[in-house]
Subunit: 339 residues, 2 copies
């Protein structure tokens, strides 16, 4: 590997001196810069127009850094934008902390910074402040990114799982498992990998449309790590109610279905990065479904189940074959480093 400082990140790029300034001014600010970020002060002063804000953070450690349909850069932006959106807030600003491994090529870094810039533009958020560190060369990691986000609380229904009642409907805004399967396919070098793309996308507009439908939405969550199964298990636990899910109604593409079988994975437990689970009264479900389908990211939205009084509170899947099985939160080993 060529060790030239001209082509690769070296430790000194993280030292806080002249080389750090160069890295920022030549490779980061031209793409991500704005009036808040450019002065490189210790923080950014933001105006806010409400007295309630949302704060969120996520660390991204996905391997490989670039995968079919996205990379760690757009993932770090969309993941945090989506966390703000499912909290019922309008994304305003993100912070961006890069921990780069010595030896990362500038070509890869440049592509990822471009991807961050494009995703931030699509999500209409500023990168307000950031930090860059460099750690010694080791095997194969390259880059971890931590974003934090600030959103302004929007007018809308009170999102609180405690408001859920028997009869409420469970919806998912699109086809499941595509992010995790795309990353795993790339990692396993599966030959059909190009057919399956990560669903990584910013959901703020889709969710604003769902809220604007006037439905009494009680809960929103993006099913990332732990997948749909993890969110459903949390919902049963937090609401104290059971959920009956109809497997045949869960949207999944044929290629995702096939890939999950090849990899021996339950698609219900696989991470999504451009989907949202929503709960609303059964009577409001069609209204939300219509709002979803008017947005490109919601065209495959579907009502997949409903809450019941059955005790103890569990998630029960009615399978395509007509059988029943419990859905539980995955234990944790299935898919490391997927986001």
């Amino acid at each position: 590997m060529n060790e030239s400082a001209d082509e690769h990140i070296i430790l000194a790029h993280g030292g806080g001196g002249e080389l750090t300034k160069q890295l920022l001014s030549e490779r980061i600010l031209p793409k991500l810069g704005n009036d808040l970020l450019n002065p490189l002060t210790d923080g950014a002063i933001l105006g806010v127009s409400t007295d309630k804000i949302c704060m969120t953070t996520d660390a991204y450690v996905v391997q490989p850094l670039e995968f079919p349909g996205g990379d760690i850069g757009c993932l770090a932006v969309c993941g945090t934008v989506n966390d703000l959106a499912v909290m019922g807030t309008r994304p305003v600003a993100l912070s961006l902390a890069l921990v780069i491994e010595e030896g990362l090529s500038f070509a890869v870094l440049d592509r990822i910074v471009n991807s961050i810039a494009a995703a931030a533009k699509e999500a209409n958020v500023l990168i307000a402040t950031g930090d860059t560190k460099v750690i010694e060369r080791r095997k194969g990691d390259g880059l971890t990114i931590t974003t934090a986000g600030i959103g302004e609380l929007a007018d809308g229904p009170a999102l609180d799982a405690a408001r859920i009642r028997a009869g409420d409907a469970v919806m998912i805004t699109g086809r499941i498992a595509e992010h995790g399967l795309a990353v795993m396919s790339a990692r396993e070098h599966l030959s059909f990998e190009t057919e399956l793309l990560s669903d990584v996308a910013p959901l703020h507009e889709l969710i604003q449309g769902m809220i604007a439908s006037g439905a009494d939405i009680k809960f929103l969550r993006d099913p990332t790590r732990g997948g749909l199964a993890g969110v459903l298990a949390d919902l049963a636990e937090d609401s104290g109610l059971s959920i009956e899910v109809d497997e045949a109604t869960i949207p999944i593409s044929p290629v995702a279905h096939h890939t999950a079988e090849m990899l021996g994975l339950d698609p219900l437990t696989v991470a999504n990065e451009g989907k949202c689970v929503a709960v609303m009264p059964g009577d409001d479900a069609e209204k939300v479904l219509d709002a979803c389908r008017r947005h490109p990211l919601g065209e495959h939205a579907a009502i997949i189940g409903h809450f019941t009084e059955a005790t103890p509170p569990l998630v029960e899947l009615v399978t395509r074959a007509g059988g029943r099985r419990m859905v539980t939160r995955p234990y944790g080993e299935e898919l490391p480093r997927i986001c």
Copy 2:
């Protein structure tokens, strides 16, 4: 090494499933929990009492994780609190993202989480939201932490280096170079390491006292990576003025001076984590100095130089021997992974 899941972090702790829930509920929430963090939602809704907030972030990659006078946990809290304070804001809430290496012992994790809790209490900030990821075992890293912070803009002078004029005074709130030298001593196993402690501390109270003095403070910055030299070089660049610094007035302890010589380091370029550089009109300098000295973290505060019209804008050090040398921003290789 014992591989038992009972004593060490394993990959599955980062999978977002049952084991992640256990890690959070047994080891994190009992120490850091509060009404915002406990629900483990995708973000925290905060009330803010001003229409101007500050957002900041820092990634911490220090090695070793524990060093004389502190550890990566209190460093991650204090560093972000200090960034909020030098922006003239009151720290309100932090986010906390942990990227843990598989194999980290629970004993070390527990100590660091305790240290985070103690520092957050001292700084009077909530850990409002967080994320935990686990990456595969490799050599010796253990843990990186990224904090982001929200502060509320306080009443006070406009902090802007463009307001600096010739005759303005440069102050530092205490003895320099102690954080970086303590970390380097621990790394190099120097025998006198126990004498030298990191200065890591939250500066919000000290800075609020300086602002409350009524002085027209024009600039505040905590000299972390790049040290005092880095801040002075930035100040000359941003103000367009020169700075004359009197070496004999720069506070440094005998043990720090000696350690820097042993390690072949210029203490001006070494990181601090509990100090602040301030600029104010020469006539206001004594007022700020008095305010500093009334706080335990400011007892060694000193006026170390002043701005001049000399061109081109440079930082000139008048040495103890009466000579003169330029102070420049370090290039970047001196002290990797110090914070």
